[in-house]
Symmetry: C2
Subunit: 280 residues, 2 copies
């Protein structure tokens, strides 16, 4: 039997194997500090935590275990954003195989303060690039990791609350808060497009990139850079592989790595595969 | 914590990602009827069975579950040979993290008639290319799958016995029977060679190919073809990537797919990673 955890792991692997995905690691390209094999290892390391999530462990615990397993196996942060997106999707799929935005949002609404504490502890496992939080959120800066947990408990924040507080500056938080809109849209695009699944995935990566500025790019560089990448992506025909490759070269040369877009693609692949619209 | 099952899955993924591996699917090449993504899916599908093996299920049951999961996820036979090699290695590693030829052979010696029955049932899950067995073994032809189980039980054959009966015509059976000699040698070669792990793996693939005729090639083509591939591989310097790629083109053109060599490489990667000699 295929479990949601196996499908989630496969989504992580299909995401990194989708080629070309401009600016991100793919089957044809390693980045200077991120190699393809690290993503493969990261996925196998995350699997035990994904299994826990599918079996009904508290969401924060399963996420923490997946992230720790990923970081241990990959030796770096390869797929934290993807796992944060996949965690509620796996949980929703495990209880309702007709996975929908509503069933996934139910999982978000049920998150607890303990889930938020687990989420903060994840940041002790990985280096994550995030923006400075607003002044009133300083004690809750995710980069404080476990040190922020007392403040989380004192304010009684659930993981849903924590994600809602970052909705304007983080694409994954936006998905959590807005019913996983882009994730489900990506799944529809994957289903609509014909052809072998790796080609569909590469094409949808470009569509996502053309749709909204990538928040990881906005954080590492600035909002204008993220918008320019979006505008440039919008000019490219996904079927024109040569243009896509030229664009990929440009992004790599400029050190631009649209990681949030890759995360949303991984989420979309998961939804599409659970709905059996995209096969292996 | 990294479990032997996670490491085994990673070995499957690192094997298919090792590039170039002449004649086999790798990061740069799909074959007409075997795609890279099918190997990724196959590995995630096998994981639950590998977990069972690590947790102490009967060897045959864990193997059967891994093979069924692989075939279901990949839609074809991507890694049956590798799983057959990995099953006793995972079991040995789960009980003795200083994995040796002797501890692995102990697992082989402990196999039962039930394990043999499970092994035969695996062949109902996958299409496997094997030679005709000798006349006295006709009832035990693996291609009969579950239909051969009564004969297995009547003769009281353990999985060790079944593998010993194929030692002369199957490279995996030879490993089971001869203390996993090539698998452990591959692990030593992986450890000795410097450089990033995907490069080591590609280099060791060529070394293995140059050492012995691949039994899958001998089965699909003939012994002379398998020997010619071995002799040709022996002339190539693994560090001369251009020559390796020319050789790869030749094999693909001739439809030669040295799958047993890939299986032994997967086993070697597992042993090397369990011994922490090759990192992600």
């Amino acid at each position: 039997m295929t479990t949601p955890a196996a499908v989630a792991e496969r989504a992580l692997l299909f995401e990194v194997a989708a080629t070309p995905t401009p600016g991100n690691v793919d089957r044809e390209r390693d980045l200077a500090d991120l190699q393809f094999d690290q993503f493969l290892a990261g996925a196998t390391g995350a699997r035990a935590g994904l299994d826990q999530l599918a079996l009904g462990s508290p969401l924060g615990e399963g996420l923490e275990s997946a992230v720790a397993g990923m970081a241990g196996a990959a030796g770096t942060n390869t797929q934290f954003g993807s796992l944060l997106l996949l965690a509620p999707l796996v949980r929703a799929a495990a209880s309702d195989r007709t996975l929908t935005p509503a069933t996934t949002s139910d999982v978000v609404e049920e998150t607890t303060v303990d889930d938020a504490a687990s989420f903060y502890r994840c940041f002790d496992q990985v280096d994550v690039r995030v923006d400075d939080p607003p002044a009133e959120m300083e004690l809750l800066d995710v980069r404080r990791g476990a040190d922020a947990v007392p403040a989380v408990r004192e304010r009684g924040l659930t993981l849903e609350d924590v994600m809602a507080s970052a909705v304007d500056r983080d694409g994954i938080a936006a998905e959590w808060t807005h019913e996983f809109e882009r994730t489900f849209t990506a799944a529809e695009w994957l289903a609509e497009r014909g052809g072998p699944s790796p080609d569909r995935a590469a094409s949808v990566h470009l569509q996502l990139l053309a749709e909204e500025p990538d928040t990881l790019v906005a954080t590492k560089h600035d909002q204008a850079t993220a918008e320019s990448v979006r505008d440039r992506a919008a000019t490219i025909d996904p079927d024109d592989r040569a243009s896509v490759r030229t664009f990929a070269e440009e992004l790599v040369e400029r050190g631009i790595n649209p990681g949030t877009t890759a995360d949303v693609l991984a989420g979309g692949l998961f939804v599409a595969m659970i709905r059996q619209e995209v096969s292996a």
